[in-house]
C-alpha cells in the first residue's frame, strides 16, 4: 500500500514538472506581455518597457525563465519557511497573495452548488432508478439533459434577468396575478402527476390535489403579505416537525419501528420547546454558536433515541438525530426569515434583495442574520446556475449504478429471504450504489478549486477562473502558472485519493503494491 502511494506520488511530481514546463513555454510564446506598452505613446515608453522587462525577467528566454520560476516555486515545499515565491503579476502583485484570495472566492462560490448538486443529483438518480421507465424517470432524464446542454453564460444571464431583476421588481408590489397563480398550479399538478403512482384516475386525482394545494398556498401567502414578511411561526414549524419525524423514520427505520418513530416525535416536541427557549439566544448569534447548537441538537436527538431503548437502539438514534438536525435547520430558517424585513429595508439594499454580482453588499452592517441573508441573496443565483448544470452528471451516474445493483443476485436473495423493500433499497442497494460515485465526487472536489470561469465572470466573482483567464489575456505568466500549479496538484492528489477510497469502500478492489 505504502509503496503504491509513494510510487504514485513520484509519478505525480514528474507529471507536474512536465506539464508545468509545457504550460509555461506555451503560454510564454502565446503572446506579447509588452503589447499594451508598444502601442503607448507615453514619453517614457522605453523606460516603462524596461521596468516591466525587469520585473518579469522578460529578457530571459522562456525556457530558462521556467527554471527560474521553478526555483521560486520549489521554495513553497519548505513548510513555514516563508520562502514561497511564485513571482509577481504584471501589476506587481505577489502571485501567492492573488491565489489565496482567488481560492477563497472560488470556494465560496462553488461549495454550496457542489454539495447541493451531489445530494439532489444522487437522490434523483436513486428515485428514477427505482421507478425506471416511469413518467417521472423520463421527466427527470429530460430535464437533466436539458440543463446539462444549456450554456451556462446564457442560464446565468437569464437567471439574473428573471431571478434577480424581475423578482426584485415583483417584491416592490408583491401581487400574484390570477394567470401566474394558475400557471404555478398547473406546474405543481404536473409534478404531482409525475410523482404519483397507481391508475390514471388516481394519478389525476393526485394532480388535482396538487393544483388546489399550490393555488391555495400561493394565494394565502400573497394575502398574508408573506413575501415581504416571511416566516413559519410555531404552528407551521410543529407541522413540519411531525412530517419530518414520519419521513425520516420511514427512510431510516421504517414506520413499524415504533420506538424510532416515538423518539423522533419526542425530539420534535423538545424542538418546539427549544424554539421558544433559544430565540433570545439566537438574537445574539455567531457562526460558532450556531455550530455548537447544531452539535448539541444532534446529541440531544441521539440521546433521546438511546434512552428510548428497544431491540435496535441504533435505528432510534439515527432517526432521532436526523430529525433533530432537520428540526434545528427549520428553526434556523425561521429565524433568518424573521430578519428578512430588516434586511429588505436596509438602506444599502433599498428593497432589491437578490443580487446579480459579487459575494456581499459593500458596507452592509448588521448582525449574523442580516449578513447571512446577504450572503444567501448573493450566492443564490450562481449556486442555482452551477447546480443545474452539474445535476445531470450525478443523477445519471447514480441512476445507472443503482439500476445495476438492483439487478444483482444478492438483491434477489435479500428479497427472497423476506426483507422489506425499504431495507432492501436503503441497506443493501443504496450503499453499494454509492461506491462508483466516490470516484466522481473525489474528482469534483479536486476540480472545485479550478474555478468556474464563466460563472465567475458573469457574477463578477474574482476567483481562480478569472485570475487564470485575466492573466492569460495579457500573457501574464506567473498568475497563470500559479493557478495551474494549484489545480494540477489537486487533480493529481484527488486522483490518488479516489483510487484509495475505492479500494477501501469496495473490498473486491485491492491496491497492488
Amino acid at each position: 500500500m505504502l509503496t503504491y502511494i509513494v510510487r504514485r506520488l513520484i509519478v505525480a511530481v514528474l507529471i507536474l514538472l512536465g506539464a508545468s514546463f509545457l504550460v509555461y513555454v506555451l503560454t510564454a510564446v502565446s503572446g506579447d506581455p509588452l503589447a499594451d506598452l508598444r502601442e503607448s505613446n507615453a514619453p517614457n515608453r522605453d523606460q516603462l518597457i524596461a521596468f516591466r522587462t525587469d520585473l518579469l525577467n522578460l529578457d530571459v528566454p522562456p525556457v530558462l525563465r521556467y527554471f527560474a520560476w521553478l526555483g521560486g516555486a520549489a521554495g513553497c515545499l519548505v513548510p513555514f519557511a516563508a520562502t514561497c515565491d511564485l513571482g509577481n503579476a504584471i501589476n506587481g502583485a505577489e502571485v501567492t497573495q492573488l491565489l489565496e484570495r482567488a481560492m477563497g472566492q472560488t470556494i465560496l462560490l462553488v461549495t454550496a452548488a457542489t454539495i447541493l448538486a451531489i445530494l439532489i443529483g444522487i437522490t434523483l438518480g436513486i428515485i428514477t432508478a427505482l421507478r425506471q421507465y416511469s413518467g417521472l424517470d423520463y421527466g427527470v432524464t429530460f430535464m437533466a439533459f436539458l440543463f446539462f446542454s444549456l450554456p451556462i453564460f446564457w442560464v446565468a444571464v437569464l437567471l439574473k434577468e428573471y431571478g434577480a431583476i424581475s423578482f426584485n421588481d415583483f417584491l416592490r408590489e408583491p401581487d400574484i396575478s390570477l394567470f401566474a397563480l394558475i400557471v404555478c398550479g398547473l406546474l405543481t399538478a404536473f409534478l404531482f402527476y409525475l410523482v404519483s403512482v397507481g391508475n390514471l384516475k388516481k394519478r389525476l386525482l393526485t394532480a388535482a390535489v396538487g393544483f388546489a394545494f399550490a393555488v391555495a398556498l400561493l394565494w394565502t401567502l400573497d394575502a398574508l403579505g408573506w413575501f415581504l414578511t416571511p416566516g413559519f411561526g410555531p404552528v407551521v414549524i410543529a407541522i413540519i416537525g411531525v412530517g419530518l419525524a414520519y419521513g425520516v423514520t420511514l427512510l431510516s427505520a421504517g414506520l413499524k419501528n415504533r420506538k424510532a418513530l416515538y423518539s423522533s416525535l419526542i425530539v420534535v416536541g423538545i424542538g418546539m420547546v427549544a424554539y421558544f427557549a433559544v430565540q433570545p439566544l439566537l438574537d445574539r448569534a455567531t457562526g460558532l454558536m450556531i455550530f455548537l447548537l447544531a452539535v448539541a441538537t444532534v446529541l440531544v436527538g441521539v440521546a433521546v433515541g438511546h434512552f428510548m431503548g428497544g431491540y435496535d437502539r441504533r435505528q432510534n438514534m439515527t432517526a432521532a438525530g436526523l430529525t433533530a438536525f432537520l428540526m434545528g435547520f427549520f428553526i434556523l430558517l425561521d429565524r433568518f426569515m424573521q430578519a428578512w424585513p430588516a434586511y429588505f429595508d436596509n438602506s444599502r439594499i433599498r428593497g432589491r434583495p437578490i443580487a446579480t454580482i459579487g459575494s456581499s453588499t459593500p458596507n452592509l452592517q448588521g448582525d449574523f442574520w442580516i449578513l447571512g441573508l446577504d450572503t444567501f441573496t448573493h450566492l443564490l443565483l450562481p449556486t442555482i446556475a452551477l447546480m443545474l448544470i452539474s445535476l445531470a452528471g450525478y443523477s445519471r451516474y447514480s441512476r445507472a449504478s443503482m439500476l445495476e445493483i438492483m439487478n444483482q443476485d444478492y438483491i434477489r436473495t435479500a428479497r427472497a429471504k423476506g426483507l422489506g423493500e425499504r431495507t432492501v433499497v436503503m441497506r443493501h442497494a443504496f450503499r453499494n450504489a454509492l461506491i462508483p460515485l466516490a470516484t466522481l465526487v473525489a474528482f469534483d472536489i479536486g476540480g472545485l478549486i479550478g474555478g468556474a470561469i464563466i460563472t465567475e465572470q458573469v457574477f463578477a466573482f474574482s476567483g481562480m477562473g478569472q485570475l487564470f483567464v485575466g492573466a492569460l489575456r495579457v500573457v501574464d505568466l506567473n498568475p497563470v502558472m500559479g493557478v495551474f500549479l494549484i489545480t494540477g496538484i489537486l487533480a493529481l492528489v484527488f486522483n490518488l485519493v479516489a483510487d484509495l477510497v475505492y479500494s477501501v469502500l469496495d473490498p473486491r478492489v485491492r491496491v497492488k503494491a
Partner: protein, 597 residues
C-alpha cells in the same frame, strides 16, 4: 447513581449554556436594521469599474493604471485639473502657480495655507520637494553602455516614476520662505510645463518615517544634500535609495492597510473600506475645504469586469454608474432599461493608417496620396463606431482630438478635406496606370482593425492597388511594427492621445523618433516641432500643431481613421454627470454629482 447522572447532565448543560453565551455576539440583539452611512443627507453612489484597485501611489510605473488614478482624483487635490473640453483649469482654492520668468522658464508653486493631509499634517515644502524628486529622475545615474552585453550596467534608477517628462529638465528647486512653495527652473523652455508638476499622492512625512528618517524636514535635507545623478560617475545615495524603495512599493495594496498613514487624503474623500477584488468605499474627508465640496457623502466602487454584468447590475440597482467596454450589444441592452441615462462620446484612443515612407512602394508621394484617396473613411466609421455613437465621425486630424475647438479649427485648413470622400478616379490619375503592391499589417485579432483593413483593401483594389494581407496575430503584430519596409508598407494600429499637452507630437512624428514607425521626416514639420516643445503660449502652440498637422496631410503620412467610443450608463438617481473623453472618464466632475431621491 441516578442522581449523579442527573447532576452530571445538569453540569454539562450549564457548561454548554456558558459556552454558548460566551460565543454570542456582544451588544445584544437590538435591531441593527438600517445600519451604514445612508442616513446623512448627501446620499451614496456606487460606481462600477472594470479593474480592481492596486495602489495608493498612482505615480509609479506599476501603479499608474486608470483605476488608481481615478481613486487618486477623489483623494488628492492639485494645482489644476482637466475639464471635459480637455482644458487645464487651475484650482486656486488648493494653491497657485505662476511663471516668474520666461527665460529661463521659472515657475513658482504655492500651496494655500490650511491645506492638510487627513491626519492634520499640512501639505507643504516636504511634499512639494518629494513630488519633484520622485518624478524628475534627478538622482538617477543608471547606464547600460552596451545593451547586448550582460553585466556592464552601472548606477541606479531610484524612483520608478510613471513619467518624468518636463521635470527632468529642472535643477534642484528652491523652497520658499513660507515653507509651502517651490520654484522650478527649467534648463530650456518646456511647452507642457503646466501639467509637468503636481503634488503626488504620497505624503512626504509618511514616506520619511517609513524610510527611516525622522520627519519631513529630514527628508528635505536628505533630498537637498544628495548629489545629482551622473551616469558617468555613479554614486551611492543611501537615504534617497531608502526613500525611493518605500515610495516605489510601500503604497501598493489591494486591501485596506493596517497603518492609516498609508492612505491619507488631501482631497474631498478618504478611503474607509476595501474588500480585495470586490469593492472599495470612500467617505468624506471632514477637514476638506480647499476646493469644491462634493454633494455625495459616500462613494462605493465595485469591480465588475464583464460588460453585460455591469448592465444588469445597473438595472438591478446594485450600481448607479457603469462604464462598460463599449460594444453594440452593451448599448442595445442599456437602451432597453428604463431610468438610465446613456452618455456616449469619443475616447482618446484612435486608429490610424500609416504609410511607410523610407523606400518600398510608398516612397513615392503620389502613390501615398493615391492610396489615401481610396480610403473609405465614412464606410469604416459606419462599420466600427457609428453603431455605438451616431454623432461620431471619422477623425480628420492627426494631432487634435475629435470635437475639441482646436480640432474644428484645424480641420478647416489642414488639407484633410481632400480625403473625406473616396476618390477612385483621382487615385487612378495619380497612379497613372501603375498597379503597385501594398502589404498592410494590422492586428488580425482586433475586429475593428480587421473591418478597417477589409474596407481599405477593397476600395484600394478598385484604383488598381494590389493589396497583400499581412495581418498578424495579437502576439506578433506589436514587435512587427518596427520592421516597416521589410514586412509591411502600410499598417493600421492605434495611439492613445494624451488629450492635453503638446510634447507627444514629436514623439510620434519627429524625425527618427522611436514611435515614428513609418520613418516620416519632414523638415518644415520638424522645425515646427522643435519650436513647439519650447513654446509655452497656447495660441502659438496651436498654430505650430496645425502646421505639423497640415504637413502630415500634405506629404501623405497616412490617415487617422476614427476615435473609439466610450459608453457610460447612469441611473437617473444620479444627476450632474457628464461624459469625459480622457482616462478620468465619468469621474472628472464628481463634485457636481447629486443624488435625486
Amino acid at each position: 447513581m441516578r442522581f449523579g447522572r442527573t447532576s452530571k447532565a445538569v453540569g454539562v448543560a450549564a457548561v454548554a449554556a456558558l459556552a454558548l453565551s460566551a460565543c454570542a455576539e456582544s451588544g445584544g440583539g437590538e435591531d441593527p436594521g438600517t445600519g451604514g452611512g445612508g442616513e446623512a443627507s448627501g446620499g451614496t453612489v456606487t460606481v462600477a469599474e472594470v479593474n480592481p484597485f492596486s495602489s495608493f501611489n498612482s505615480d509609479t510605473a506599476v501603479g499608474n493604471v486608470d483605476i488608481n488614478n481615478k481613486v487618486a482624483l477623489l483623494t488628492t487635490n492639485d494645482f489644476n485639473y482637466i475639464n471635459s473640453d480637455l482644458e487645464v483649469v487651475p484650482r486656486e482654492e488648493f494653491g497657485t502657480y505662476e511663471v516668474v520668468s520666461e527665460d529661463p522658464l521659472t515657475v513658482t508653486y504655492t500651496v494655500n495655507e490650511g491645506v492638510t493631509w487627513s491626519d492634520g499634517e499640512p501639505v507643504d515644502a516636504d511634499d512639494l520637494l518629494l513630488s519633484w524628486a520622485s518624478t524628475s529622475a534627478y538622482f538617477d545615474d543608471e547606464s547600460d553602455p552596451d545593451p547586448e552585453v550582460e553585466g556592464d550596467e552601472t548606477g541606479t534608477t531610484y524612483f520608478s516614476a510613471a513619467s518624468t517628462a518636463g521635470l527632468d529638465l529642472t535643477e534642484m528647486p528652491e523652497l520658499g520662505e513660507d515653507g509651502r512653495s517651490i520654484t522650478l527652473v527649467y534648463s530650456e523652455p518646456y511647452a507642457d510645463w503646466e501639467i509637468a508638476f503636481g503634488v503626488t499622492d504620497t505624503p512626504a512625512h509618511v514616506v520619511a518615517t517609513n524610510a527611516g528618517l525622522a520627519d519631513g524636514d529630514a527628508l528635505i535635507e536628505a533630498i537637498q544634500n544628495a548629489p545629482e545623478g551622473d551616469p558617468e560617475n555613479p554614486q551611492e545615495r543611501p537615504e534617497i535609495s531608502a526613500i525611493a524603495d518605500f515610495w516605489n512599493t510601500g503604497f501598493d495594496s489591494t486591501s485596506l492597510p493596517s497603518d492609516p498613514a498609508l492612505y491619507l487624503s488631501n482631497g474631498p474623500y478618504v478611503v474607509s473600506e476595501m474588500v480585495p477584488d470586490q469593492s472599495m468605499t470612500l467617505v468624506r474627508n471632514e477637514d476638506y475645504n480647499w476646493g469644491p465640496i462634493p454633494a455625495i457623502d459616500e462613494i462605493t466602487i465595485r469591480y465588475i469586469g464583464d460588460a453585460n454584468a455591469q448592465v444588469q447590475a445597473l438595472q438591478n440597482g446594485e450600481v448607479d454608474i457603469i462604464q462598460p467596454q463599449a460594444s453594440a450589444d452593451t448599448l442595445t441592452s442599456l437602451e432597453a432599461i428604463d431610468g438610465v441615462e446613456i452618455l456616449q462620446g469619443p475616447e482618446l484612443s484612435f486608429d490610424h493608417l500609416d504609410l511607410y515612407q523610407e523606400g518600398g512602394v510608398f516612397a513615392d508621394e503620389n502613390v501615398r496620396k493615391a492610396f489615401m484617396k481610396t480610403v473609405p473613411l465614412e464606410q469604416i466609421v459606419d462599420a466600427t463606431i457609428r453603431p455605438l455613437d451616431p454623432e461620431s465621425g471619422p477623425r480628420m486630424s492627426q494631432i487634435f482630438d475629435f470635437g475639441t475647438e482646436p480640432y474644428l479649427a484645424a480641420v478647416e485648413e489642414n488639407g484633410s478635406s481632400e480625403y473625406a470622400e473616396v476618390d477612385i478616379e483621382g487615385a487612378k490619375e495619380l497612379l497613372d496606370g501603375a498597379t503597385p503592391e501594398v502589404r498592410i499589417m494590422y492586428n488580425a485579432e482586433n475586429p475593428n482593425r480587421v473591418d478597417a483593413y477589409t474596407l481599405i483593401a477593397e476600395s484600394a483594389e478598385q484604383a488598381g492597388f494590389r493589396v497583400v494581407d499581412v495581418g498578424l496575430p495579437g502576439a506578433e503584430w506589436g514587435p512587427a511594427l518596427e520592421e516597416g519596409g521589410a514586412r509591411w508598407d502600410a499598417t493600421i494600429f492605434g495611439w492613445i492621445s494624451p488629450g492635453v499637452g503638446v510634447t507627444g507630437v514629436p514623439q510620434l512624428y519627429g524625425c527618427g523618433s522611436a514611435s515614428n514607425y513609418v520613418q516620416w521626416c519632414d523638415e518644415e514639420a520638424q522645425e515646427a516641432m522643435d519650436e513647439l516643445i519650447l513654446t509655452t503660449d497656447p495660441a502659438e502652440q496651436q498654430e505650430l500643431q496645425t502646421l505639423v498637422d497640415t504637413r502630415l496631410y500634405e506629404t501623405g503620412f497616412g490617415l487617422p481613421l476614427f476615435q473609439s467610443v466610450g459608453i457610460n450608463g447612469v441611473s437617473d438617481r444620479i444627476e450632474g454627470t457628464e461624459y469625459m473623453s480622457n482616462q478620468d472618464g465619468i469621474w472628472w466632475n464628481y463634485w457636481e454629482w447629486t443624488v435625486a431621491e
